[in-house]
Symmetry: C2
Subunit: 246 residues, 2 copies
DNA sequence: CGCTCGGTTGACCCGTTTCAAGTAACGTGG
DNA sequence: CCACGTTACTTGAAACGGGTCAACCGAGCG
């Protein structure tokens, strides 16, 4: 009896914490601006907490599109595979960010998406999201903002790839991560890179050796310390100046 | 009297042809899949036919976001201006394509958008578009597809900027234009470039001299003829092979 | 008609890639 | 828990592609 109650309690607790209403990411994710009732409706259609182990694929290119996925915790990369098997990383995704937006247009996923650490996602069935956003204008609007933000972010990468030198790209990359960590309540100046030099290079249009050299250069100049995957930003101002002009 | 009637007739005619229902771009633009009644509702909120002369700006970075714009005819470029005044072209837009999607997220336009030839656009007030798409699910869905398509297109540019060599970029660029012209009923193999070499270079992450050299090279290899702004594609297959692998 | 702007081409230079060697961290199985 | 093999990372030297600088040409426009 005792035991049963404790199991039940645990079950209720796990349900509770997985709801949007009590999710720490509310303010970064789809429910921004929704009231309690609306949040509940949204929450009900979402499959909360799918676990994805490190190295596991959440999405494969060619998969039929059914759902978007919100990162609940963890870290993902998305990439496009060319016919010779090379990767072009199209983005890194952290807590509160929405995966799979590229697939809406053709109803087929175009990116491979893999967890770079043990992660959890919330599955958002897209058809149902569209249905309920008819009756929750704020949700629809928030969704549009999220899609638009993805476009803005992609434009930033285009500027980076089109105009910046290697060191500038790395500086921009670190500052972008720093920003996003800070928004999520983590340190803006000290964090761990979840991806390899090769993955960074693929994202930034550089070879891994160039990434490594650029890190070393920024370290020599005293702006950062880099120790394997651990980064410390010592002089955000100077890093920013390095890319100012873009 | 005679005169008045003729003026009236002209007015009615101009109204009629400017409606979505009779627009030749229906199948490329927002009304895809809508029935007559729905098309009418959409059409009513759109300000049809704003003329933008060559060299005039449709949007400026920093402008408050109010509307999206569908290109009715003509040709536009969008670009981001860095603090030193350099341009990074983020896209070229032709008939039926939707401008201003980047501005939804921050409610501020981030791109400068200028007509490269005398053009006309339809203004789509965004708040009202969101309102009516609550009652026209197909319209909402079509809008989501258009945004998603923009993301996919940006990803393609990222691959191009991240991995391809100069000549490959030019080949990819020409094939992309060819495709889009063909979809609009124009020749896939013979068309006029509306933009300068410098603008092409900015879009493709190359200097104008490199663009020029790459055109010459492709011409020497017999794949294209290029005469000022006029291009002929002689061997689409070979051009495609040049970029296959991406 | 002449000026300006856009485009082409050549020569040289610089930054990134490529190739190569060596080292450090990590995960696995004994 | 250690030894091993594997993978990730760093650094150097040489090669190469695209950038830069410069001269010239041609088309379009006032």
């Amino acid at each position: 009896m005792r035991n049963n109650i404790s199991v039940l309690k645990k079950y209720i607790a796990s349900q509770a914490i997985s709801k949007c209403a009590s999710c720490s990411l509310r303010e970064l994710c789809l429910p921004v601006g929704l009231d309690a009732h609306e949040t509940e409706i949204l929450s009900d259609l979402i499959e909360h907490k799918c676990k994805i182990g490190r190295g596991e694929y959440l999405l494969r290119a060619g998969m039929r599109f059914k759902s978007l996925y919100a990162v609940r915790n963890g870290f993902f990369k998305s990439y496009i595979l060319d016919s010779e098997g090379r990767q072009q990383v199209t983005g890194f995704y952290m807590t509160g960010e929405l995966l799979g937006l590229d697939a809406i247009s053709a109803e087929i996923h175009t990116c491979e998406t893999v967890a770079l650490e043990d992660s959890e996602v919330c599955e958002v069935p897209f058809e149902r999201l569209e249905e309920i956003s008819c009756s929750i204008p704020l949700l629809m609007h928030q969704f549009h903002k999220i899609m638009s933000r993805e476009i803005v972010q992609d434009h930033r990468v285009m500027v980076l790839l089109g105009n910046m030198k290697a060191e500038e790209r790395i500086a921009a990359f670190l500052l972008n991560l720093s920003d996003r960590f800070e928004k999520r309540g983590y340190s803006a100046t000290s964090f761990v890179l979840r991806m390899t030099r090769e993955e960074i290079g693929s994202y930034l249009g550089l070879k891994l050796e160039t990434v490594s050299r650029s890190f070393s250069k920024l370290q020599d100049e005293g702006m950062i310390t880099i120790n394997n995957k651990h980064v410390e930003l010592h002089d955000i101002h100077r890093l920013t100046r390095k890319i100012s002009g873009y």
